[in-house]
């Protein structure tokens, strides 16, 4: 049974619709990450699940019961905010205890539970401090502790790491993932950082303009993007998109090369977009896909990004860092046909 289900969820602010029917089922114990560009409706979705925003249309179910009209506290959820929102006038212990206010636990049980949570988050010695005496990472941990202490059936995180510096963010990312493996609650996590999404999620939900673009494991969304938006959004640097034509079931490249591809869902002749990741392009002698002149090199250590000017536009290639082609050199690039993505140029939908 799904722990959390969204059925045809719609949100309107006045006459503007910002969510256009979200459908999603989240299994018990699953770690789901919502990702998408700014303004796509991630926070709105999360806040509707939390009960902080009214549902305009559709149904939200948590643990099998409809919660549309329940107060946040009755939904058995907990939320961690981007700004932490821990109360500055209360000690860490009090802040965490706040999460237990509506619980029916006895006093000693509550105290034990707070100690336990503090132990898990390794901040037992911080319990008597005030938030102003904590670092950013520690504050975020207090916020997580306040959410954890109630053992909710669904944890909601709204960009909890975006205020931390890069190093701390990587560390907290790992900590949250470990925490999830340890406590096993269902987690819905919102971010606009695709690396965060890829590294933490069991399943990623990619959103754009109030619509879900694709739902899948990190592997699926990376290797089998359903449309050009997902293809470009996931993976860094972004997938190269080349305009091409399709005729007789073959893809004709801008420079005239024809490639035979299997598994196409349509053989209709027409304009297509051919997607290929920078990692999948390799210098070749024969079976060339495209060629062009190297304009810029960006050494990253183990590999070097090279920018190649081609008739189909500029493309990025991840080259071996030890012997990258020189600027000005003409390179012939090819790719394993299995790693090519074919999209309809009009609709952006995948064709195989």
């Amino acid at each position: 049974m799904a722990q959390l289900a969204l059925r045809n969820l719609v949100k309107r602010y006045g006459s503007t619709e910002v969510l256009h029917g979200i459908n999603l089922e989240v299994a018990d114990g699953e770690f789901v990450v919502f990702v998408g560009p700014s303004g796509c409706g991630k926070s709105t979705t999360l806040r509707m699940i939390a009960g902080l925003e009214e549902v305009s249309d559709g149904v939200i179910e948590i643990g099998g019961r409809e919660v549309n009209h329940l107060e946040p506290k009755e939904r058995d959820i907990a939320m961690v905010f981007q700004n932490y929102a821990i109360y500055p006038h209360m000690s860490v212990r009090k802040n965490i205890a706040f999460g237990l206010r509506s619980s029916k636990m006895s006093k000693p049980d509550k105290a034990r539970r707070i100690e336990e949570v503090a132990g898990i988050l390794s901040m037992t010695e911080l319990l008597e401090r005030k938030p102003s005496q904590l670092s950013g990472g520690q504050r975020q941990r207090v916020a997580i502790g306040r959410a954890m202490v109630r053992d909710p059936s669904v944890f909601l995180f709204d960009e909890p790491l975006s205020n931390l510096d890069a190093q701390l963010r990587t560390q907290m990312r790992l900590e949250i993932k470990k925490l999830h493996q340890r406590v096993g609650n269902t987690i819905v996590f919102v971010t606009h950082d695709q690396v965060e999404a890829m590294t933490m999620a069991d399943r990623i939900v990619i959103m754009k303009d109030g619509r879900i673009q694709q739902v899948g494991t990190p592997d699926e969304v990376y290797h089998r993007p359903q449309n050009t938006f997902v293809a470009r959004f996931i993976g860094a640097p972004s997938m190269n998109m080349l305009d091409a034509e399709m005729s007789d079931g073959r893809v004709i490249m801008p420079q005239g090369q024809a490639i035979q591809l299997g598994g196409l869902t349509t053989a209709q002749p027409g304009r297509i977009t051919l997607g290929v990741r920078p990692d999948d392009l390799v210098p070749v002698e024969s079976d060339m896909l495209i060629q062009g002149k190297v304009t810029v090199r960006e050494p990253l250590g183990s590999e070097t990004l090279i920018y190649v000017d081609t008739p189909g536009g500029e493309i990025v290639v991840k080259a071996d860092g030890r012997k990258p082609p020189a600027v000005g050199e003409v390179v012939r690039l090819g790719a394993d046909p299995a790693n090519l993505h074919v999209f309809d140029r009009e609709t952006g939908m995948v064709l195989r």
């Binding site: 939390a50 009960g51 902080l52 107060e71 946040p72 506290k73 959820i77 907990a78 939320m79 905010f81 981007q82 700004n83 932490y84 929102a85 821990i86 109360y87 500055p88 006038h89 706040f98 999460g99 206010r101 509506s102 005030k130 938030p131 102003s132 904590l134 670092s135 950013g136 504050r139 306040r146 205020n163």
Partner: protein, 296 residues
Amino acid sequence: MTAAPDLPDQARPTSDALFRASPSRRPRNMGQTIRWLLLFAGGIAMVMPIAYMISTSLKWPHEVYNVNLIPEEPMIENYTYVLEDGRFYLWFWNSLFIATITTVANLFFDSLVGYTLCKFRFPGRKLVFIAILSTLMIPTEMLVIPWYLMSQSFGWLDSYWGIMFPGLMTAFGTFLMKQFFESVPDDFIEAARIDGLNELQIWWTVAMPLVKPALAALAIFVFLGNWTAFLWPLIVTNSTDMYTLPVGLSSFGDEADVAWELIMTGAAISTIPTLIVFLIFQRFIIRGVVMAGLKG
């Protein structure tokens, strides 16, 4: 001061070097001099009335109209006279009671209304806010007559309630609190909502502690305003027993002559509670309380 570290003799700065190293001892430029002078003048302007108040309270009646600051024959009898007059204590109590109740009422109502106007979205919110603000444009002098007529009809003349009711909630306080609640991030309120608090609890346990500096400032304003209020208490009270301290003090003396030395004595004594209130509440006026729980 920490002890000077043991330096080799050559490294020890000579007094000459020290003097040259501190140019800030001399005023740096004209601008600074002018600033100091202005501050000095401001300081004098504020201290002089207080100095004269104390000076006059130590003078004999015949000397009151001399402008000398040091009384020729200082005497303390004015104080014993005022403190032995039983009415003084009654007025003092009246003022204290009224100012305290009014302050508490303002802290409660202004912040409750300010919070509601700031954090809730409901139809007519802007209109209510503008209506409250627009009352700021009407001076007290214009309101005392309607207040008086109203008090007369309700039978509130010459009563504590009559003195207090116009000030139990103020537009200024409401505005002040609303502005301060703007600085309380919605995340706090939503977090509390998820933690299971009802709206009144959120206001009281989460929002109010975060605006303590504003509450302290408001408490000082309201207390001082009511402690020194004169016009309305004068109009609404009839019996000497209901006078507040300023009204009572002004009644010292007789029709022919105002007893300034006694009025100043009473005024000097009556500044004590305002000092106490100020000392209590100014501790809370510390900035930056709100931000501490957010991203650092």
